[in-house]
């Protein structure tokens, strides 16, 4: 946020002084959870998420957070406990990754179907096998069609702020969907940096009243049957099913504007602003662009600056909100450039490219204008995406701009590191 817009924002509501601390991403996530005041957290440890839930347990043990903590016997039960809690009116939270997310999948898929506004941090980890305990987006990408909102964070401060905002987005009556806050395993989970801690009173005012089970409840004061069968293959059964499915899709689309509103409200009350859907960096006069997701964006922005210094007219498009995919916002950004390189930290096996690249192809079609593009895959299994890697992406994309044929295979950035 520029100084000018920040001043405009604080003119109405002056945020209280913020305590500055040094925190890793996992700790920042835990602090964000505490600020949002959930009633219930359920936890099961897994690398690289473990220190996050340890921080939560300690915050509760120290009396700095008033929540029921359920040490469940596995991720499947972790999310199931939270579903029960939410149906009884609790604001709920958990975190997992990789194999834990895979084990959780059965209740995971059901959560948005019941429209339960649960917040779940994915401390992203690559998919096994090959065996790996290190970062990568494969876990979150694998479940991208399960109906959860998914937002990716660039840095530790964004982790903290987005974690609080996630509850507000999830519980918005026009949305009522669970949210994944994705933070990169290793790079953000363990990377310590300066973090400003919002004042609890400001966050309380931002959050407003809790109202998570107005639409569906397991409550003797409001007896109802939750999730009965939608019987039969004709007539009323499928009609009911379609109505619910359409509702999920509508909630997901509603989330696009709600995410923007919530980010604007956060900026106004707390004084920090993040691009809610798509961030443009030095894009306005760019001829071509690279696209990033998550923590790789930091190195990519430095590389862009260097390339600009070298006279290349390149900009950057960062996706923050991956689900729902911000088609209209991305269309506006893509309309500005004539070639595109997309960096993914995971693979779309079926298309032999990165998942974000695959999604972007759909947006390019809707743009109605052909832009040469190519897919780069890097940062698998905890590998670093460095400034030189990004320069490779910039160079290859610039070649597309100058008429080179786009390869049908992705470029594997760390193949020969």
């Amino acid at each position: 946020m520029t100084t000018e817009t920040l001043e405009k924002a604080v003119a109405t509501e002056v945020p209280r002084k913020q305590k500055v601390i040094l925190a890793e991403g996992n700790e920042a996530a835990a602090l964000g959870v505490a600020l949002a005041r959930p009633d219930m957290v359920s936890v099961y440890p897994i690398t690289p998420q473990s220190s996050l839930v340890e921080h939560l347990a300690k915050l509760i043990a120290d009396g700095r957070m008033d929540a029921d903590i359920v040490d469940a016997e596995g991720e499947h039960s972790v999310l199931s406990v939270l579903q029960g809690g939410a149906l009884a009116g609790a604001r709920t939270y958990t975190a997992t990754c990789g194999p834990g997310l895979a084990f959780m999948f059965e209740p995971y898929f059901r959560t948005p179907g019941m429209r339960l506004p649960i917040v779940l941090t994915i401390v992203t980890r690559d998919g096994i096998t090959p065996q790996s305990v290190w970062g990568g987006h494969q876990d979150a990408m694998t479940v991208r069609e399960a109906g959860w909102i998914q937002v990716y964070c660039e840095n530790v401060q964004e982790v903290l702020d987005t974690t609080v905002m996630a509850f507000k987005i999830a519980e918005h009556h026009d949305v009522m969907l669970p949210v994944n806050v994705c933070l990169d395993g290793n790079y953000l989970s363990y990377g310590a940096s300066r973090v400003e801690l919002p004042d609890q009173a400001d966050v309380d005012a931002f959050m407003g009243e809790k109202d998570v089970n107005w639409h569906v409840a397991l409550d003797p004061l409001r007896p109802m049957a939750v999730d009965p069968l939608t019987g039969g293959t004709t007539g009323k059964g499928p009609q009911t099913f379609v109505r619910y499915r359409k509702g999920q899709c509508r909630g997901m689309q509603n989330a696009l504007s709600v995410i923007e509103e919530v980010h604007a409200d956060w900026a106004k009350r707390i004084g920090r602003s993040f691009a809610p859907l798509v961030e443009e960096y030095r894009l306005d006069d760019a001829e071509f662009a690279i696209m990033t997701l998550g923590s790789m964006t930091g190195a990519a922005k430095d590389a862009i600056d260097e390339a600009r210094d070298a006279g290349k007219k390149v900009g950057l498009i960062k996706i923050k909100t991956f689900s729902p995919f911000p088609v209209e916002a991305l269309k506006k950004s893509l309309a500005k450039v004539r070639a595109l390189g997309v960096i993914d930290r995971s693979v779309a096996f079926r298309w032999n490219c990165g998942p974000m690249y695959q999604e972007t192809l759909g947006v390019l079609y809707r743009l109605g204008r052909h832009i040469p593009s190519m897919s780069f895959i890097g940062g698998l299994a905890g590998a670093d995406i460095t400034i030189p890697h990004v320069h490779r992406v910039i160079a290859d994309t610039e070649a597309l701009l100058n008429g080179a044929t786009a390869p049908t295979e992705p470029v594997w950035l760390n193949e020969k590191d």
């Binding site: 359920v70 029960g84 009884a88 939608t230 009911t240």
Partner: protein
């Protein structure tokens, strides 16, 4: 629901035919020792004595056939009374009664019948062998009948299934401040959660996944506890969801002492989906995935004993029960509900499946009873304080064949398979017996 009344019960095994009861009755009712005028009659010579006495029937045929309105059943006491001023001495009632409970008193010139001496029958204390008892049968139903039935009428269970009985009575007992979890299986299959916007249940009810019943319920219960509301968490689950794919969440919730009542309706397989094998299916049983053919003679492994596994979680309460022994079941239900206020309570109810076990639908209780009488199923309860003890001990169990032959699912058994089952029954009985010996150690 009809009311249960007090009645005179007769145990022929204890009767030696002395006739003291008849003398007592004659003295009380006629002022004479003329046992022919006694309203209780014992027939037989040396053994196998039979009783002729008014049963105070719920649907009394004597009352139905009486053309004079001289016989009436008292709604409060249940006693069938005779009104001399209306009787026309036609004796049709003596033909209508199948128990010889009303007969002509030739001396008096009218019929006479037992009136239970206004609730203090003279015959009962007169019996020197304890063969007569004045008892209230199914007393529990009087209380239960006063509670609201929280299931809709006409649930879609299989004919002869005892699960509807179990569900209605359990819900009556826990009452409306309950959240009910019924994971996929026969219980929701009967319509308890419902179809297309209608539900069979009057309290909050839901389908958990087959895998996460205990975990979801734990979340619900914890949140109500957090906000200071007393809400009963109740699961009614099948054996498959509890012992197989749902076992992890069940075990986890039990270990954490989550406050709920988890009831397993054990019909020994995945009966709702078409009678497939579960880990609770007994050895030798036919199921659709342990079929009988050239190379297969039913299930080749013994059943997992889930309730004993739950004992090893040191749950606040664990018990096994059978719908053939409802008073035992009710006592356990009460204890389980109480225990679930402070910890994890587990109730394992054996539930014969008319469809999947292949027996006539009128024999459910008979099959359930035979399971207990042969020790194939043992009824016991456990608390950490009192340990484990039998609530219904079977000292002289029937041969297990008495149980096996009642069902089509065991019809194919070879003699060595029957032998294996009988051996296991004895082993299991000894195993549980040994646990009772350590009852007060823990």
């Amino acid at each position: 629901m009809g009311r249960a009344y007090s009645t005179i019960a007769f145990d022929p095994a204890k009767c030696d035919g002395c006739g003291d009861c008849m003398t007592a009755c004659a003295q009380a009712k006629t002022g004479t020792d003329d046992v022919a005028r006694s309203r209780i009659q014992i027939y037989g010579r040396e053994k196998d004595f039979e009783l002729a006495l008014c049963r105070q029937c719920a649907d009394p045929k004597c009352v139905t056939v009486c053309p004079a309105g001289a016989l009436n059943k008292d709604g409060t006491t249940g006693v069938i009374g005779w009104d001399a001023s209306k009787c026309v001495d036609c004796l049709l009632c003596t033909v209508g009664c199948a128990y010889a409970g009303i007969a002509l008193d030739e001396t008096a010139g009218h019929v006479s019948k037992c009136d239970t001496c206004d609730g203090n029958p003279a015959c009962v204390p007169a019996c020197p062998h304890g063969a007569l008892k004045y008892i209230t049968t199914a007393n529990i139903y009087n209380e239960v009948g006063d509670w609201e039935d929280l299931f809709a009428p006409g649930l879609a269970g299989c004919q002869g299934c005892n699960t509807e009985l179990l569900m209605r009575h359990t819900l009556r007992r826990v009452g409306p401040d309950t959240v009910l979890a019924t994971p996929p299986g026969c219980v929701p299959g009967m319509g308890s959660v419902g179809f297309n916007g209608t539900t069979g249940t009057k309290i909050p009810v839901f389908h958990p996944l087959l895998t996460n019943t205990a975990a979801m319920l734990a979340g619900i219960k914890r949140q109500y506890k957090r906000v200071g509301r007393e809400v009963q968490a109740l699961a009614i689950a099948g054996d498959g969801g509890a012992s197989d794919v749902g076992f992890q969440s069940l075990s986890g919730a039990a270990e954490r002492g989550e406050q709920m009542l988890f009831m397993v309706v054990d019909n020994e397989g995945y009966m709702n989906t078409g009678m497939q094998r579960s880990s609770c299916t007994p050895y030798g049983a036919w199921t659709s995935t342990t079929p009988v053919g050239e190379t297969s003679r039913g299930k080749t492994q013994d059943a997992k004993n889930l309730p004993l596994i739950m004992v090893n979680h040191r749950c606040a309460y664990v018990a096994t029960a059978s719908t053939a022994y409802m008073e035992d079941l009710y006592e356990k239900l009460d204890k389980a509900i109480l225990a679930s206020k402070t910890g994890f309570a587990y109730l394992h109810v054996y539930s014969p499946c008319t469809t999947g076990w292949r027996f006539p639908s009128n024999l459910n209780m008979e099959v359930a009873r035979k399971a207990v009488e042969t020790n194939f199923v043992m009824l016991w309860e456990y608390t950490p304080q009192e340990g484990l003890h039998f609530t219904k001990s079977v000292d002289n169990p029937l041969p297990v064949t008495e149980y096996l032959k009642a069902m089509g699912r065991f019809r194919h058994l070879a003699p060595e398979q029957v032998e294996h089952i009988q051996k296991k029954v004895v082993e299991n009985q000894k195993f549980v017996e040994r646990m009772t010996e350590h009852a007060h150690v823990g």
